[in-house]
Symmetry: C2
Subunit: 638 residues, 2 copies
């Protein structure tokens, strides 16, 4: 199956290379080691290659983002175009395209990548500095406004792109550009040099990753420096920029959601290299606050339009949710690092949740339309766009999807960890040898998974199967016989044995429809429930439910649910058919407030249909809601 000259075994294109990190429990498995063979992710990756990356490349050109590099290199005479941080979109696109090259040397993509890298490289200054906004007349302004001007943010994305390209292709040219710039930066910032931190975190994780590639400690030290010096008012001391308090003293997750989570990613990376427990403690505290008080049921983050920021605890409006696509992507990235660091399944749960819902909703099924903002309820005005003036989200979701195969497995000294489920064929390096795992499943539509093990000469080792937190009941069998030990949701089940060629592990996760409520202080969700099945959050969309405004539907507390797989709908989805009623709101016509006795509404029994949230807004516009009204049954008089 894996022919000779297989490229992917050499490259080791991982997203976070914790292989040598002394304080990381898990080691990643390269993207190219996992061949997706499923009907969920594989088609998405195909669309990414065929549609997303080429159209984004055209947009980088059309919007002047590539011209900005040519301008900086003196090749064209033109004004700088767009926002001062537009370089970062180019870098994120290169990162996404590089991940693709790790498993698919698509010549069209390769050609685009090479030409973009050449433009980037040509724009670099002799001293290593590289930012197309701060050239010519603005050269003197370099590093003068770290709070607002995103130079370090752009540098971080440059570094991440260069590492991805190097890991995917083995080439060094772009990596050399990044290293040269990073050396320039370490020459500028640090103890005894310029004191500063970035207004928009991002470079921290990039520098740690560059340390992992180069083993140059200066990069790790500078990443730590940027985290250690946060909270001293260097970028204004605001809560929005998470500069109000030293990182280790943070109690509540606050501020700009993407900045906050990128910072946490960097801190997690620094922890994995240094073992600084004060960082891990702060990270765990922030994670608990976020997941218990500030995260949408979709894994979306950041409820406020103002400052694209986290709100107060339980401040999670649906219609005015901000839930930036980038923040959901960041949520995947942070939880992946926490998972690597600890091996705790709760991080895998949040990673999976954000991936399948909050992040995936950010891109249309066509692969070329995007949400920046992801409401959980809408009247039909909110539609995906082909691009944004501030276009951080499109290439961010692209790099996430391109790297999805890299999130499926990890290894530890004990063995192989299975985090995500989808049909795939993976060849995983373990203790210098290889284990081949072949997953067969219809996940996320079915909770039945079969993993066939080919130990390839390895003797005893463990396979850690993730039992998702959403599963009520899971049964794990080996070659048809239930294994010892009760699989516990939100934990990994360790199966340790001398594996034999063709051993089949089956996992059966009960995938019923979960009817969820949220904390009663989440004001908009009072007397409402959300439907979830497996990792997928559902919503009701108008187009599936003619006859009644979907905002007027109510779920019956004793509804039975019928699930139905529709291969031709929305790329293939399982629908949930529900029993409930529709309220006749005619008493409210032309009225906003009425006395309670004057607004009795008739209910008409009806059935309605829910679709996965990620798939909404791909058809004609109309009302949508994740949280569906239901009579409040969760109360008991004492």
């Amino acid at each position: 199956m894996f022919g000779k000259g297989v490229f992917w075994l050499k490259a080791r294109c991982v997203v976070v290379d914790s292989s040598q990190s002394p304080y990381s429990r898990l080691k990643p498995v390269p993207i190219e080691s996992v061949k997706l063979k499923d009907d969920f992710w594989a088609p998405r990756v195909k669309t990414l290659v065929k549609v997303t990356l080429p159209t984004q490349y055209e947009l980088l050109e059309e919007t002047g983002r590539l011209d900005n590099f040519r301008r900086a290199a003196g090749k064209v005479r033109t004004d700088f175009k767009g926002f001062f941080f537009n370089d970062s979109d180019v870098y994120k696109w290169v990162e996404a395209a590089s991940y693709v090259l790790a498993f698919n040397r698509d010549s069209r993509i390769e050609k685009m990548v090479n030409s973009v890298i050449e433009e980037i490289s040509d724009a670099q200054d002799d001293d290593g500095y590289l930012n197309t906004y701060f050239v010519f007349e603005r050269k003197a302004e370099r590093w003068t406004n770290l709070r607002d001007m995103h130079e370090l943010y752009c540098a971080g994305h440059l570094i991440q792109a260069a590492i991805a390209h190097h890991r995917a292709t083995g080439e060094r040219m772009f990596l050399d550009v990044a290293v040269k710039f990073a050396r320039h930066i370490t020459g500028v910032f640090g103890p005894g040099k310029m004191l500063g931190v970035p207004g928009h975190p991002e470079i921290e994780m990039a520098l740690v990753e560059l340390y992992r590639v180069t083993h140059l400690e200066a990069f790790l030290n500078l990443a730590r420096f940027f985290i250690d010096n946060r909270g001293c008012g260097l970028v204004g001391g605001s809560v929005e920029l998470i500069d109000h308090r030293p990182f280790r003293e943070l109690e509540e997750i606050v501020g700009h959601a993407v900045r906050s989570i990128y910072l946490n990613c960097g801190a997690a990376d620094v922890y994995m290299e240094t073992g600084d427990e004060t960082l891990l403690r702060a990270l765990k505290r922030l994670w608990v606050n976020m997941t218990r008080c500030k995260m949408y049921v979709t894994g979306g983050l950041g409820s406020r339009y103002v400052g694209e920021a986290f709100g107060e605890n339980y401040e999670l409006p649906n219609r005015r949710a901000y839930a930036e696509t980038c923040a959901a992507v960041a949520n995947v990235m942070w939880n992946w690092r926490m998972l690597l660091a600890t091996g705790d399944a709760e991080y895998a749960d949040v990673m999976e949740l954000s991936l399948y819902n909050g992040a995936l909703a950010g891109i249309g099924l066509d692969g070329k339309s995007y949400f920046y903002i992801n409401p959980l309820a809408d009247r039909g005005r909110h539609r995906r766009q082909r691009w944004f003036e501030c276009a951080c989200c499109p290439p961010n979701i692209a790099r996430l999807i391109a790297s999805v195969p890299g999130y499926f497995y990890s290894t530890s000294r004990e063995g192989v960890w299975v985090h995500l489920y989808a049909s795939n064929d993976a060849l995983i390096e373990l203790n210098g040898r290889h284990v081949r795992l072949v997953q067969e499943t219809n996940y996320p539509w079915s909770g039945h998974v079969e993993v066939t093990v080919y130990p390839e000469g390895l003797s005893e080792f463990s396979i850690f199967l993730r039992i998702p937190g959403w599963s009520r009941d899971a049964v794990v069998a080996l070659n048809g016989k239930p294994v010892n030990g009760k699989p516990e949701p939100a934990h990994y089940l360790e199966l340790r044995r001398r594996w034999e060629e063709g051993d089949v592990i089956s996992v059966d996760m009960e995938m019923g429809v979960d009817v969820l409520k949220s904390h009663p202080h989440v004001l908009e969700n009072r007397c409402r429930v959300a439907l979830k099945r497996g990792p997928l959050v559902y919503c009701v969309e108008q187009t599936d439910n003619p006859g009644h405004d979907v905002w007027d539907l109510m779920l019956s507390p004793d509804s039975s649910f019928k699930v139905e797989y529709k291969p031709d709908l929305l790329g293939g989805v399982v629908l949930i058919h529900c029993g409930g009623s529709a309220a006749d709101t005619s008493v409210w016509t032309g009225r906003l407030y009425l006395r309670v006795e004057d607004c009795v509404m008739n209910l008409k029994p009806t059935r309605f249909t829910a679709i996965p949230y990620y798939a909404w807004a791909n058809r004609e516009p109309g009302p949508m809601t994740v949280w569906i009204p239901m009579l409040d049954t969760g109360l008991r008089n004492r």
Copy 2:
């Protein structure tokens, strides 16, 4: 009672002088004609004189707002301080103080006013231009950025202040400054001159009022010009600035709430002078959209932080309500104009609602602390401030309170109109003679009002009594005998007769506790109700309800209410004691989402107490909510 040398009869200090307006049904009654003798407004006006105006004066000085005028006059050498529109705060303060001078020649206030007016006057250019930001090096930038720089907005407030001062004192000096500036403006803008409209409407109503004072048609014409040219993209064409569509074609109330409503005020004023029915039709359309789809139950307007703007229909979050104090003040102003223009009681209802709730909450009981933003639910972090960098709200609520007596009555050819209720003694000019009305009531705590009529030689005329929309049942009697005709809520009841000295009209409005629901598409209010009694919206505040978090309280659908007047609490309020229960939320500790079957909560019967919304946040911080959970009873299976 009204001694010799009574000052107030000469001044005629009205807020909107529609006396000569050909298309105004009602004519206003001067502020000084109405002597408040009640326990609600009179103490507030007293606090305004003793605390609010002096402390605001000190803040105008402390923050450099007065120095900006001295700087412009060349008296001090200093940088311009604060925002470029800070002059407007000074003008609004002068307007507020002038209204006070109309009925109370407090020497301390008079001295302050005179000194401020002198500073303003000294800062005026020889050509009439007056704005302390655009002086010296910025002189060349005058009128170059109408969208952002608020020159016309500041000019409007200058004009309104000058008119108020002239009407209150009879003096001309300040009015001359305003006229000179207004002449300068009419020289700059208009057909064949500069084409432009203000980014922030305000000058429109000011110019119409100046036309009413001076009878110079150029002012009216320019006001109309600014309205006619709106929607042509002169200030960018944005929805936020209501420049996306010509005024007469607006269907939905959108954009920055204060700008939108100030614009409507100006359009209503132009209508009253010109009879342009296309304006009135647009105004009525916008009013219907606003009151049926976009107004908080408190009369607050503008639900979005972003752009301080109206949201979509039914987008009325409570915790993240913006509901700027200025917008509620503007709501009073607009409805007052609509009421004058039409005599329709529905406008008086909204005016009263905004006045007693949305606007009044903007100032603390101490008279020196302010809300800019007025949420309808809070966890205790939102507190009134002594001032704001952008300090539009404090002097705006000050000028509203100072002018409250002017909103009580109007006249028409037919007679006298009674809009608001509170104990007062009013001498009202009618057809060249005077009617004295003496109101005695405990309104808003009681719905019983007695009006004693002293016709002072007048023969037959009508008295129009407002029967508020909130009253379920009202009984009106004359000298103890019920009058003919059923008083209809949200209408005026006309009593026409030959009045005799000492005739007593009694109005008994049933003032029960109304339990209100909102349109089911207002997401946060699902399964919640608001309590209202008479014109007052209530809320539950933590400090009155120890033992349970007020966000965990539920109102019983069959609750009886006990009302209790507490003279020593919050300046004297009627409390509403409710029956209900408190939910034990311990199952939710550390959880954000749970399956519906895992989160059953115990309810413990409890009673709790609500206070008027305007009085919240005057004691120790804690949770508050206007919308109280209640099991959904308003549903009936068909």
